[in-house]
Amino acid sequence: MAEFYPLQALGAIAVLAMLYIVFYSYRRKEFSRSDLLVWVAILCWFLFAVIFHEFLNVFIAPLQVMSVFDLLLVTATGISLVMLLVLNKRLAKIESKVDLLVRKNALEQVK
């Protein structure tokens, strides 16, 4: 097995902490089952990649990245951008609903 670096330990701890938050949110019914499955899949993948990074070496040549670290960084950035877009859309939808509701309530006060 390859050497285990302190940065990997930090990464593993961060991922485990996020897994805990995900399970806790699921228990509090803040996350649905599909949210739980998606997040567990993403975080387990990252945990695997952090601990057994040498297995990712097979992707370096085909994807033409310099190192496994770069691969993880690009993947994390891509996932973050997708999440940002999804969150932005959800927020816009919620804002629109709040606007409609508040104005409807206000105008109903005037007969």
């Binding site: 104005r103 006060q109 005037v110």
Partner: protein
Amino acid sequence: MESECVKIIGVIPAYNEEKRIATVVAEVRKYCSEVIVVNDGSADSTADVAREAGALVVSHSVNMGLGFSLRTGAETALKRGAEIIVTIDGDGQHDASEIPRVVAELENGQFEVVIGGRPNNAEMPFYKQLGNQFIYWSERALFGSLVVDTQSGFRAFRASVWPRLVWRSRGYSVSSEIVKNIATHKLKFVEIPVKTIYHDDYKGTRIMDGVKIVAQMVRWKVKDLGGNPNG
């Protein structure tokens, strides 16, 4: 004193203005058929005080912002048959006795929108003068607008121009959006100087609000270039 046969409704957006709203409503009532106060989720007794002063109060359950409140007020005024809508700030910054002069410009049929411009004088805080100048030049460069006091909340417009003037802004950028819509839809407007009173506890736009307003103007311009002038 109100113009004969023309229903003039005053719209006052208010957020935590229990100290001044009664005075503002009492003054505006002298010159308008009705006064609508939009209580924008105030935590104090703005709504009760305004109601006691004789205003029709419309309340938002949560604070939604100046632009949202103005639109609620304007739509309420239209629902009540307004022919001319006058908007005035709820913090007592504007002198309501200027309303007849402002409205007179609409009644002669030459103009569709009147803006009560606040002159740059020693009483206006310096950072406001600077900010107003910056926003004025930005608005002029982006939309060709000739309105000098783009941030004035004292304005009047004919109900007939509502479809072309209507705004989407929720916050302080509403004033800039109104000015933009005047320029975009080539509405006939005039800007006349009005008296302004600055209190020590001035609440209006701050520097960061000014930055956000200019950023929003750039976004509108990009949308205009993309062929969607209504945002």
